[in-house]
């Protein structure tokens, strides 16, 4: 390993700590003034270093994030004095799934899939910034179009929309296979 990559690696670590949330490759590039391949190599090296540590690097919402491992969640939660984390209701998850896969999508289209009105559920999802209005469809009535947010990606630990679990039409197992959590596994 060249000394340069060693420096970059430690600098990346510092930036991820200070950044808190997902730090994009482009932000790293600007800060480190290093080529992408050096940065990704440094990230991969750093990810390996974190083996056996409480922290690890997660690829979320288009960036890299220094996070705690779920195994130690109980301790962290106790320290932060966090009660049970608020999860989404089943109706909210279903609706969110429809928005995620069909976006941009109108309220009526969501209602059609679910067979019930989704006004209330959509409002709750909007309140939590998991979805947002992305525009209006240029048809009769100009219905509002909804799409997912970056907070949505962070909530589910998704790198981007393409890493959503595949929408299976026939085999339910397909959808569940994609659930494996995303740890950083840069190999280049």
């Amino acid at each position: 390993m060249t000394p340069e990559i060693d420096t970059i690696k430690r600098a990346v670590e510092c930036i991820l700590l200070v950044g808190g949330g997902p730090v994009r490759l482009q932000q790293l590039r600007t800060a480190l003034e290093a080529p992408d391949n050096v940065i990704t190599a440094a990230l991969a090296e750093l990810a390996r270093d974190y083996d056996g540590h409480g922290l690890h690097i997660q690829e979320v919402a288009g960036g890299y994030q220094l996070v705690t491992r779920p195994a130690y969640a109980d301790y962290v939660q106790r320290f932060l004095q966090l009660e049970h984390q608020e999860t989404l209701t089943r109706a909210q998850l279903e609706t969110l799934a429809i928005v995620a896969y069909r976006q941009p999508v109108t309220r009526a289209e969501i209602d059609a899939v679910r067979g019930v009105r989704s006004d209330y559920v959509l409002d709750r999802l909007l309140d939590r910034y998991l979805i947002r209005e992305v525009g209006r469809r240029p048809t009769l009535g100009r219905p509002i179009l909804y799409g997912t947010t970056e907070a949505f990606l962070r909530h589910f630990g998704l790198r981007d929309l393409s890493s959503l679990p595949p929408l299976a039409n026939h085999d339910p197992r397909n959808a569940l296979e994609a659930v494996a959590p995303q740890e950083l596994s840069v190999s280049s």
Binding site: G21, L80, R90, L96, A97, G115, H155, F156, L167, P172
Partner: protein, 240 residues
């Protein structure tokens, strides 16, 4: 799945015993004759089951499934058309079944994906970054871009313009206005011109209320109105 604790609603009628959804799919496959299934009784049974507590998710599914079966059954009950049209009608029936099937399938696939998302959520809920414990103000604008803010502001402006007529008008009471007039006339014993009463009136309503107050005072004989001649200015003064 850890969250799939709820059992599907099961029905129990002489002709069928099992999950309601299974009954629908059997009926769609033609393995059960809906004409023999007392849908009314199934609905009644479900209603009485809900008296001890209702699960909205389940209620939605039961309603949907029952509605689908009622629609199928009602089509079966319609008298058979002439043989010449039979082919066409059969197509329609299978179209409907296909549509129902497709919609159910679509809904199911979203439910499955929702379960997968639940697993991701459970995982991610146990992951903490510095940001989640940091400045709580940082998340206030989560998922919002400058464009969104700008558009939202524009909408507020538009709404404000539309609502102008609905903004509550300041309440003006006749009694209050009478007091104002009396105070004015007391300060000017020589009399005040009619027009001066309305000098600072800002709205039609205020003009009307002031006029009503004046009429009231004149009726009570507390204020005197004098006019030198036709079209001459009216002078108002306290009654001596």
């Amino acid at each position: 799945m850890t969250n799939e604790t709820r059992l599907p609603y099961s029905v129990k009628v002489p002709q069928f015993e099992g999950p309601l959804e299974l009954l629908l799919s059997l009926a769609q496959q033609g393995q059960v004759d809906l004409l023999e299934i007392p849908l009314g009784q199934i609905a009644e049974d479900y209603l009485s089951a809900t008296r001890s507590g209702i699960d909205l998710e389940q209620a939605t599914e039961v309603l949907w499934t029952l509605a689908a079966m009622i629609e199928m059954k009602s089509r079966l009950l319609v008298p058979k058309p002439e043989p010449t049209e039979a082919v066409v009608v059969e197509d329609q029936a299978s179209d409907l079944q296909e549509q129902l099937e497709e919609r159910l399938q679509e809904y199911r696939s979203f439910k499955e994906v929702a379960s997968a998302l639940r697993a991701l959520e459970e995982y991610q809920n146990r992951v903490f970054s510095r940001a989640t414990t940091g400045d709580p103000e940082a998340v206030v604008l989560e998922g919002v871009t400058i464009d969104d803010l700008f558009r939202a502001f524009q909408r507020v402006l538009e709404r404000a313009r539309e609502d102008v007529g609905e903004i509550a008008t300041e309440e003006i009471k006749v009694a209050d206005r009478m007091d104002t007039i009396l105070a004015l006339l007391t300060a000017h014993p020589e009399g005040v011109e009619f027009g001066a009463l309305f000098g600072q009136a800002s709205s039609t309503l205020e003009v009307i209320v002031t006029f009503l107050a004046l009429l009231e005072l004149i009726k009570d004989r507390r204020v005197r109105a004098q006019q030198a001649g036709a079209f001459a200015p009216i002078t108002l003064a306290m009654t001596p």
